[in-house]
Amino acid sequence: MTSTQYERNVILSNVDYDVVGTRPIRPDGVDKVRGRALYAADFDASGLLHGKVLRSPHAHARIKSIDVKKAEALSGVMSIVTGKDLPKSEKDSDRYARENILAGEKVVYKGQAIAAVAASNPHVAEEAVSLIEVTYEVLPPIMTAPQGMEPNAAILHEGLTTEELGEKTDKVSNVANHFQHIKGDVETGFSEADCIVEREYNTVTVHQGYLEPHSATAFWNSDGRLHIWCSTQGAHPARDATAKILDLPVSQVRVTPMEIGGGFGGKIPIYLEPIAALLSKKSGRAVQISMSRADVFESTGPTSGSNMTIKIGAKSDGTITAMQARLAFEAGGFPGSPVNAAAICVFAAYDVENAQIDGYDVVVNKPKSAPYRAPGAPNAAFACEQAMDELSQQLGIDPIDLRLKNSAKEGTRRADGPTFPRIGAVEVLEAMKDHPHYSAPLGANEGRGVAIGYWFNIGFESSVSISVNADGTVSLVEGSTDVGGSRASIAMQAAEALGIPMEDVYPSVVDTDSVGFTAVTGGSRTTYATGWAAYEAAQDLNAQMIERAASIWDVDADGIECVSGVFQSKSDPELKMTFKELAAQLADTGGPLMGRAAMNAGGLGASGGSFAGNIVDVEIDPDTGKTTVKRFTVVQDAGKAIHPSYVEGQMQGGSVQGIGWALNEEYYMRDDGSMANTSLLDYRMPTSLDIPMIDTVIVEVASPSHPFGVRGVGEANIVPPTAAIANAIQGATGLRMNNLPMNPVAIMEAKWKQNG
């Protein structure tokens, strides 16, 4: 392998800033390279106890009895809890949320928590857990969406009835929801088509694979207030979820977010926080629980396996006349798969007159699914983008040209309703077509594939305050947990707006008592929404600084402007002060100043969203079926890249997760509903040796809604890789791989089938 050099990799940007677009060292970096940054499991408290959780050995069973007497008798055991210690649930949705923390009368996946013990050390807690006696009535497990939808399937929840096209029915079923998006009329559209591709695709359960297992410490104090230190993608959402599970007012819970060792959506839900809280209440001590790696696989939300049918019709000139999808997603043990998001994204790249999307949310005996980076969209793209590839081959049209001809653009109405503002799908496709990779020669047994994907970038709530220090620096307080460098991207936006260097901004991520409500670090929202809040807080501060300068100079504030961090009179060139000079005078001229912003940055699709595209070359070993990714290029619309290195990092990280999803990763399920590969040896995530350098091209089509034009970049990059790799494998072998993962066994079996 040889090292690939970066091309000039930011294109279309037509605005230059002082700070935005530069590559400073992240503010939390030094602590992280020295091992000083404190993550959840590093937290210590006076008199800390350690908890362990008893988890179900069965995928589907009724709990007949739980006996904790022997565990209680073990020396060093301080408290034990079961589902009976949780408040009673009135609504089914509340019951599902509580039973995913501690089971009630039934377990619906292997690994579901049943009881927990707090003890003087983790080894004693583990021994105590093994002494808890549970008797079960084992039931047959449902493992896939199609199985769960069969007429006589075993039922997971006797009280679960299907919501059919928005109406509650009384039909008891594993199908929690069936919804539909219709635009135009697909029958008419297909009747106008010269060429139709219709295929069925399947994906299996995969995990986010963050390297840090979940960990939470709780201390329920004598004044009734509960304090939690945990690894979470959102302190306020974790606070609210914990309060709801425990039936407490939100003000009685305080969450301090520790540094977070990866999440990718999987640390949006809570698991350990209420358990640690109850163990703390019973023992009067702080209790810490950390998961094992097997716990992470079996007891936290992976993303859904899915069964999908795609039908696309086009005229011989390549004009798509109709697109239809049927998406059935595994929710896991409780309702709530990402099928809704999959339905938004499946055809989002295309401007088509006639479309129909049917989505099914199906409960199965696997862990309750949780968000995983662009939840649902990679599944949908694996299906749609392979069908598009087949269509391009049948029509004899270049696959990028076919996409360009039908590309969504500003004004395109999606099948799920919204109309796109300015988006960058065309620009991403053009950048792919222009890239030297697209026309580079291929070697023996090699193939090339392309695909594109969309993610919508949520807005939601963010709060930021900025206070001025006497030395001219500022302290920035924010609520967004920093999972990949967002302290830098937020501080940079504040610095740009204040006209000061980024190194003069000191950002802190603080607890829920110390900053206003801030939604999760997820949905590609943090640099977009919290960055926007930082910009607004800076504007608020600038206005106050102008007022102060006006009072010092005894002039009208309207006559003062702030240009690149210098406050100056519009009429008198003698009246001029830098940010630093004014900061030094604040204490003696009326006191300190602080800017603030607490805002809602919009709903789903706030920025218009981001498109990403891949060009991938693979080599297939003809004897073993092993796929080697030889060259990988990712192109993504960032709107405006605040810190290009961390934008590239998102693009590269999402791409490599996509490569793992495409080629290796899978929950390998036994017939009894247990996962056979619960270690990082057997659940095979990509290592450094498995992949090449990942070339990046950042396209900048400014979002119309954000002050700097930012589009969230965290997620769209994981959407196209599985399809691009499948298309490349087809190019190399002629084999259409309609199921994930495309591991050597699957490729050899497809080859033998092809050869008869």
């Binding site: 392998m1 790696r293 990949g484 997760q657 270690s679």
Partner: protein, 159 residues
């Protein structure tokens, strides 16, 4: 409760004495007994490399070493990589090349990378990828980590 063993060892150049149960791993001893939490647990079965430390000049996953095995050994953890307050070139290169996102795997990668460059001062991309294959990173896709190690190699040879 099993009895505890007294262990005499050297950690980051400092003589350390601690008590541990026979079942406690070196990782657990470093973190929970000695209080050096820079070494991270990602899997506790030797597959992720987050707990990598150097022991008598070789890199090991400290979750697969028992605390009692540290007797008489010389151990370097992430806390011992910088020279006082001056960062090691590998640490500086990780910062400048944005080679970390969440940072949980970073201590292990830095310990492994430093060892690589002490053994192979001018490694090829393949040698870097091979040496670091026991350190999993889920955030970066490894691209910027490889570049950081290449950068550190150049800086260390210039020095």
């Amino acid at each position: 409760m099993p009895g505890k063993t007294q262990v005499q060892t050297t950690i980051n150049g400092e003589s350390v004495e601690f008590l541990c149960e026979p079942r406690q791993s070196l990782l657990e001893c470093l973190r929970d007994v000695i209080g050096l939490t820079g070494t991270k647990e990602g899997c506790n079965d030797g597959n992720c490399g987050a707990c990598t430390v150097e022991m008598d000049g070789r890199i090991v996953t400290s979750c697969l070493i028992l605390g009692v095995e540290a007797e008489g050994k010389e151990i370097t953890t992430i806390e011992g990589i910088a020279d006082g307050s001056e960062l090691h070139p590998v640490q500086q290169a990780f910062l400048e090349n944005a080679a970390l996102q969440c940072g949980i795997c970073t201590p292990g990668f830095i310990v492994s990378s430093k060892s690589l460059l002490e053994n192979i001062p001018n490694p090829s991309e393949h040698q870097i990828r091979f040496w670091l294959a026991n350190n999993l990173c889920r955030c970066t896709g490894y691209d910027k980590i490889v570049r950081a190690v290449q950068d550190a190699a150049v800086k260390m040879q210039e020095a």
